[in-house]
Structures are given as structure tokens and as C-alpha cells.
Amino acid sequence: MKKRTVILALALMLVAAASLAAQTYYIPLISKGFQHQFWQAVKEGALKAAKDFNVNITFEGPESEAMVDKQIDMLAAALAKKPNALGFAALDSKAAIPYLQQAKAASIPVIAFDSGVDSDIPLTTCATDNVAAAAYAADKMAELIGGAGEVAVIVHDQTSRTGIDRRDGFVNRIKSKYPKITIVSVQYGAGDHLKSTDLAKAIIQAHPNLKGFFGANEGSAIGVLNGVKEMGKIGKIVVIGYDSGAQQIAAIRSGEMAGAITQNPVGIGYKTVEYAVKALKGEKFPKFIDTGFYWYDKTNIDDPKIKAVLYQ
């Protein structure tokens, strides 16, 4: 008997939750995670857009980015709800293809977000233009080292889309626009703090005249920072990072790091919902939507607009 009352109470709770859903467009977003601050910021942006465009959204993602099958189950449940459109950031595009084909067959427009989906089914992808963002970091680097000298780069890997785009964005901009700057080394540290630290130290050892150092993601940036610190080169080498995180934010506040590029997760969430609504209205749009990025340093780190996109 007791068990029945509890189930009844649970059922009532569910009715309450379900009745909140009004009769408007329903757009589920299946993300790559939900606990991490980055995904919470994406969710926040999506919720804001839901309010602005008067649609209902749900935001779900697996507990870890390894749980490909759990994400597929979420996708299956989302499709069972007969949504009007779908936002999706695939953990593994190939595993999701059968479900995306189902969505296509049911004429449910799919909008990819963040790293996107490796398929032609999504109408567009709302993500950071990493090439443009890294090129901007190159401009900042040139400005801060006075347009000449040696710089080095540590990237997380040479296989992921973000790794390739950020490396090429930075390197190509330096090569094409700043002939007096030479890139002496590009190394890969798997985004691991310790490994990147060792790499950075070795590079500094080999190139005593190094003037600037770019770390292409959070782990790489912290590695670069640690390396510069341990070699006693703070103030002599300009450090530029990417993404955020408690350590990076603290280093920028103290001036040990000159500044960093941050993606705009709020914008990613907002644009995903915005373009899903546009798709439902039959509007045409390009295959890639740049969700923007910000440069942040000591001067603007407390700006509410920047604060909203940084995570600890």
C-alpha cells in the first residue's frame, strides 16, 4: 500500500511537470553533457531563446562524454515525443545516423550545435568559428609582442576538428599578416596539464628568445602558463590562452596570462533554438552559423557580458 501512495505522489509530480508544457512548438536539445558549466551556459542561452521565440525546449545530455549509447537513448526518447524540431550535438555522429534518418523521414528539422554532426541531415550547425577565433588570438599576440619575434604554440591534438581549426587559424594568420613573427614550434599535449607543461618547458629551453606562447585549449593554456612560470619567464613571454576555467581566470586577473579567447556557449544555445524556429517557418539560411567568441583580459574580465560566458 505504502508503495502505491509514493507512486501516486510521483505521478502527481509528473502531471504538474507535464501540464507546464503548453501547446507551442516543442524543440528538444540533445547535448554532449549537462553538468559541466559550459553546457549549463548553452542551456541558459537555449532557454532565453525559448522565451524570446515562445517555444518549449528541453535540454538533456549524458553524464559523461563517453556515454554514446545513453545519448542515443535520449535521442530516441526525444523523437518519440514527436517534436517540431531537434537540436543535436553528436558524441558520435555515426552511431546517431539511423535516428537522424528517422527525424528526416518524419520531416523534423535537425539543427546541429557545438561540434556538430558529421552528416548532411542537419540544416545547419551553430558553433564557434574556431579558425576566426584563433586568428584573432594571433592578431592579439602580434599586438602584444610588438609585431616581431619568435612565438610557439601548444595545441591539444592534431586530429580533432577544434585542434586543427585553432592551430591553422593562428598559424596561417601569423604567416600571412606578420612576416616579422616566426612560429618556432607547434606541439601537441593532448590537453593534459602536465604533458603540456613539460612540452612548454622544453620549447622555452630550446628557444631562449621566445616572446609569445599560445595554448589552444584550457589544458594547453595552463600547461604553457606553468612552463613559463617554472622557467622564470613571467613578464618576458606573452601567454595567450583559450576557453576558461578557474586557473586561467586567476592567471588573467593577476596578469600572468595576457588574455584568452572564450567561446560563447550562451550564443550557441540561443542560435540553435533561433535557427530551429527559422527552419519551422521555412526560412533559408547558410550551412554554418558562427556563434561568436570573445577576447577577454584583465580589463574586461568583470564585464557582465564576459562573465556570463566564462566558467570556473
Partner: protein, 337 residues
């Protein structure tokens, strides 16, 4: 089937040890089953999207892997042990199957056999550590969990392996033996789950292996004193669990059409939870396969239903936690009586 060398007195004394638990387990099964039915009715009333062929298949598919793992771990828990490595062991077998089929370009059937073989070997190793070297099951299988996780990452080079050269591999899970049922094509993964459940149920209830599994969990010392080599049977139980992990590995690799080496950690807890919700006692000597399957279905139905109702994800987790605690509490109340 009877092991002649041990003689009938041993069998009789074991029957005595395991007697009296059957009725209690049956009651828990009925309780678990009615909870599942209640859940299905509640969700069906709350959303028109829940009780639809498409969604019911989604629920069954979501149950398949956890259900298979839970069957294996049920055997281990009945002996009074625990296996924390089933999730990563599954991943390891999936990676080995992928290595065989996609990297070495061998036929699909060899990939399947490789997964089953590797699973059995890992389970056997855990069993030897526990039975012969007397390591606590918790520690031995925790070690095995890390070991298999690391090996998966090494062999797959930390990247998924895709079965691009063997399109038939995906059919193992996602094809259907009954393609004539147009709107309700039950995927093979689900059929394999039910087939394994029936087989495991038979083994547990009607073979000497099953009888010793219960007996070891109820009173290992008494079984040993009646002249039975309990170590050997315990090792066998862990090896069978490993073999079943191999089946789960094939199912998940086939469903995702790839072996994902980073996946697997945390899945052992879902499997243990399913067994416990279904009435398997963590102190050993008690449990049924039917109960475990119902437990696995309660978990996946709950998760799916809460998603269908658009309950925020954080609350989905809270609700699942409450249900697990409640199920175990009811089980304890029942035993106290």
C-alpha cells in the same frame, strides 16, 4: 546433471541451505512486477507519446545492454560476491571484437567469438583472484575494472573503432528476426536479452551450477564442509559473468556500429541496481533472473517515461535514486517479517 562424485548427502544438505528463500523471492518478484505495470500505466495516462510501438521498442533497446549485464552480475551477487568490472569488461570485449573484425579484417563470427572468449578469460581471472588468492571481490573486480578500461584505451588507441568494413555487424543488435511485423519490429538485441534470460533462468534453477551458486551465497562454509570444491564453482560463476559481459559487448558495439573505448564505467552500478531492485540480495543466497529483468525494465521505463514527460534531467536522477532506495527498503521490510 548431478555431480556424482559428491554424492547425494551433499545435494540434500545444500537443498536444506537454500530452502525457504524461494517464497520470499517470489513475493519480491510480484512486487517488482506490479511496480513496473503501475509505472507503465501511469506514464501511458500522462502522455499519449509513451505507449506507442516506437517508444516501447526504444525502451526495450535501452534495456538490452543493462539487462544482459544485470543477468551476469546476478549470478555473482547470489554467491555473495560483487563484480564492479562488468561495465569496462563489456567495453574491452567490444574493443576486441572491433579489433578482430575492423582492424584484422576477419569474419564477423570470429569477432563475436573473440568477445565471448576475452570476456570469459577476464571473468576467470577475477574468479581466480577471489577464490584462490582470497582477494575481496570488491577489490579484485575494481582492479579488473581499471585493467580492462586501460587495455581498451590502449588497444583502440583511445579512439572509437568503426565497423565500416562489416555492415552485417550492426545487424546483430539492430536487425530483426521478425521483419514481417511492420510497425513493431523487435530488434535482435531485445530478442537476445530475452533468450539469454530464459537460458540463465534455467541454469540457475535447474542445474547443479545454479544450485551451488545459491548454496555458496547462503553458507559457503557448510558447502565446503560437505566436500564440494567451492573455489572451482566460484571461479566458474565469475567466468560465466565474464562470458555474459562478452554478449553485452557485442550488443553495444553492434548497436553503436563501433567500439567506444572510453565507455563503460558506471554501467556496473546500473547492472547491480537492476539486480537489487529485482530482489537479488546483496548478502547473497537469493535472487532470480526474472526479478533482475524486471528490475532492468523498471530502470529504463522510468528513465524513458520521465524523459517523455520532459521532467528536467536533474529531477530524473533524483527520482531514479528514490525508486532504488525505496525498492531495497521494501525488500528489507519483507525479509524482516
Amino acid at each position: 546433471m548431478a555431480d556424482k562424485s559428491n554424492g547425494t548427502p551433499a545435494i540434500a544438505s545444500i537443498a536444506k541451505i537454500t530452502a525457504g528463500t524461494k517464497g520470499a523471492a517470489a513475493r519480491q518478484k510480484i512486487l517488482a512486477f506490479s511496480s513496473l505495470v503501475l509505472l507503465i500505466i501511469a506514464f501511458s495516462l500522462l502522455s499519449p507519446n509513451f505507449f506507442q510501438p516506437y517508444n516501447l521498442i526504444a525502451i526495450m533497446l535501452a534495456t538490452a545492454v543493462n539487462g544482459v549485464l544485470a543477468i551476469g552480475v546476478t549470478f555473482v551477487i547470489i554467491t555473495g560476491g560483487i563484480d564492479l568490472s562488468v561495465g569496462t569488461m563489456m567495453t574491452f570485449t567490444a574493443v576486441m571484437a572491433a579489433q578482430t573484425v575492423a582492424v584484422w579484417n576477419l569474419p564477423v563470427i570470429l569477432g563475436v567469438l573473440m568477445a565471448l572468449f576475452v570476456g570469459t578469460i577476464c571473468g576467470l581471472a577475477s574468479g581466480v583472484m577471489i577464490a584462490k588468492f582470497k582477494l575481496p571481490p570488491f577489490i579484485a573486480t575494481l582492479g579488473m575494472s581499471m585493467l580492462t578500461k586501460g587495455l581498451s584505451l590502449i588497444i583502440a588507441k583511445s579512439k572509437p573503432i568503426y565497423f565500416t568494413n562489416a555492415p552485417s555487424f550492426a545487424k546483430i543488435s539492430m536487425g530483426s528476426l521478425f521483419p514481417f511485423m511492420k510497425d513493431f519490429q523487435i530488434p535482435n538485441a531485445v530478442i537476445i536479452l530475452f533468450g539469454l534470460a530464459i537460458l540463465a533462468s534455467f541454469v540457475l534453477n535447474s542445474t547443479i551450477f545454479g544450485r551451488y551458486t545459491f548454496a555458496i551465497g547462503s553458507n559457503e562454509e557448510a558447502v565446503r564442509l560437505s566436500g564440494i570444491n567451492t573455489d572451482r564453482w566460484k571461479i566458474a560463476v565469475y567466468a560465466v559473468n565474464g562470458l555474459i559481459c562478452g554478449i553485452a559487448g557485442i550488443l553495444i558495439a553492434s548497436r553503436l556500429n563501433s567500439a567506444q573505448p572510453a565507455l563503460g564505467q558506471g554501467y556496473e552500478l546500473d547492472a547491480i541496481a537492476a539486480a537489487v531492485i529485482g530482489g537479488t540480495s546483496l548478502s547473497g543466497g537469493e535472487g532470480t533472473i526474472l526479478g533482475t529483468i524486471i528490475g532492468a525494465f523498471i530502470m529504463s521505463t522510468l528513465t524513458n517515461g520521465l524523459r517523455i514527460l520532459s521532467v528536467p534531467q536533474e529531477w530524473q536522477i533524483v527520482t531514479t535514486g528514490i525508486i532504488i532506495i525505496f525498492a531495497v527498503y521494501v525488500d528489507m521490510l519483507r525479509k524482516r517479517r
